[in-house]
Subunit: 186 residues, 4 copies
Amino acid sequence: MARPLSTDARDKMIAAATDVILDRGIVGFTIDEVAKRSGVAKTTIYRHFPETDDLVLSAVHATVDYAEAPDTGSLRGDLAEFLRRILPNFTDFKGRAAHYELWAAQLRDPSLIERNQALFDAPQSAIPLLLERWQDRGEISANIDLLTAFEIIDGPFALRSIISPHSLPTIDIDALVERMVLQLQA
Amino acid sequence: MARPLSTDARDKMIAAATDVILDRGIVGFTIDEVAKRSGVAKTTIYRHFPETDDLVLSAVHATVDYAEAPDTGSLRGDLAEFLRRILPNFTDFKGRAAHYELWAAQLRDPSLIERNQALFDAPQSAIPLLLERWQDRGEISANIDLLTAFEIIDGPFALRSIISPHSLPTIDIDALVERMVLQLQA
Amino acid sequence: MARPLSTDARDKMIAAATDVILDRGIVGFTIDEVAKRSGVAKTTIYRHFPETDDLVLSAVHATVDYAEAPDTGSLRGDLAEFLRRILPNFTDFKGRAAHYELWAAQLRDPSLIERNQALFDAPQSAIPLLLERWQDRGEISANIDLLTAFEIIDGPFALRSIISPHSLPTIDIDALVERMVLQLQA
Amino acid sequence: MARPLSTDARDKMIAAATDVILDRGIVGFTIDEVAKRSGVAKTTIYRHFPETDDLVLSAVHATVDYAEAPDTGSLRGDLAEFLRRILPNFTDFKGRAAHYELWAAQLRDPSLIERNQALFDAPQSAIPLLLERWQDRGEISANIDLLTAFEIIDGPFALRSIISPHSLPTIDIDALVERMVLQLQA
DNA sequence: TGTTAAGCGAGACGGTACGTCGCGTCTTAAT
DNA sequence: ATTAAGACGCGACGTACCGTCTCGCTTAACA
């Protein structure tokens, strides 16, 4: 019966929030700054996003370029191509900042993962798709489950992001592919 | 000629800082609160730790229980034992909180890694030690370097911590060991 | 042709406004609160009372019990009776709060006096009436004008309300009457 | 043992507060504005004046020009001179605004009177002084107490301020003096 | 064995951001 | 066309911490 939340205001504040995050990181992220840049009132921001994290995640999500599943015809080809596509998210300044901030936020508050599952369902869909295709083609073991696949394919990036982020640009994709194939076919 | 920094004050503030972190997480960590709990003046805290992060890391480090390198005589045995020892850092509430906060801080500011290398040299020494021993015993390939070893051994934990922390307690260590052996011997 | 403003809504909002003022004083009076308590929409309130003060005064007016002119046959008797009747407006908690707020609002914004003259014409009519009667009966000087009469009769209450409100309940009406008679007969 | 409250900051904020009150009245008075104009931080203002009213009163007090007791040798002369001295506080824009705001604030919250008695002791000292002198000279009745004297001398101004502030400039001081003498000598 | 520079606790200082409240205006759906 | 509901931009609220500063005192190294 009353006036609905304005999608216009929402769009402006997400755009501004993205802006702020890329400028200053999540540390340094401020509702006041989002209000100032977007021209949207602080009260309105709180009306749309009572939890600051929700705004942050909506914004971060907009900056991460999730890779689509490649189809090269072979396991090795698919893996190499897929890794090449996701690599920029960890090495390019912009993508990396957003991605890292997202992870940091989740590490700090694991409940974010569940709360925002919807945000990840779409982008995460590449790996389930690849997994199914490889199993259909009989290229990998049938008893690899989804979580294990994530562990094998994204694990190295997760680890390096944490202990040695500067080593990411020099990552040896071919060697990585070989190690992944070994595990997937076991 | 003048008076040196008091180790007594230093100890009190690190203890209080640890306290605060376990209470409130790194988000929620405040110098004011450390001052209040320790009875040490803010001025003194800033004199000892001009960078807040240095105090935080000193405190976090005190809560993480770094595993020592086991020596069971076999690659599989060492791996299984080592994984069992580090697992609590990811599953126990207290250890997990501290560990995650540490990672989040590094993700947020990669310079922390270099700046605080000293803090990690000791705890990280288990893997270099194991790596060397396994290579000496000829149980694994000679061309596995340290970073790759970290990737193989810690990668799965890193990945799960990020995308699926609730799955950590149910991790299948034996299956994990087999996948690690495959990669290490390649 | 169009629908007239609803007297029903008007009554509900004045009732709620009175309620709010007695609860919280004029400081603490909010349109939002009136809307909430009355169930009347804010838009409607603003349509009826574009100036908030008008609503406040309408409400305050409802709580002040204006004394009627007594007729005891003698100047002293009339004065004593009239003072007895108006005293509660300065001493009783409810009446006092409303009365004071009314005055405070006028001090703050003298234009309120003219703007709301209508509200005061009726209640103020006791003194003009008494003045005329006393002059007709030849009990007081013919050259006392209305403002002077107010000054003489209400002045002491005004002064005490401001500098010493706690002394009001112990006011000596007989002494007061004597001083008033002196002035009125001069 | 710690750093004392800065009198410098205090002076700046009272000056700015006075400024704000004369600009905007007590309605329209804002801590934010005082902070902006004074260059003093909001936190510091709250440190000095946890109750906003205390700041307001300190500021108002600085703008009111309290009359000193005149000594002309005669009751009528003293009264006329004293009234002439206090009149500007009710008629001049600046003095009137401050004076009225002060009264309005007290009407709204009578506890202010007690809480700030000290502020008024000095300025109010003219009337006690005059009262004593007149009684010593035998010019007025011995049983006029202080409150009654206030009532007689300030009452007319209080009343007119409230019901008819625009009539103050045209007040007939001589007639007023006669009425006061009548009462004081009764 | 004083002298004295630096450390110490306490907490005030100028700031920035917080999350909330009330304003007066507006948009919507339902009488 | 009026209403109840409530979102909107705005600006002030009073609080929490920030990192710096001023205090008066204590203490250890050097003369």
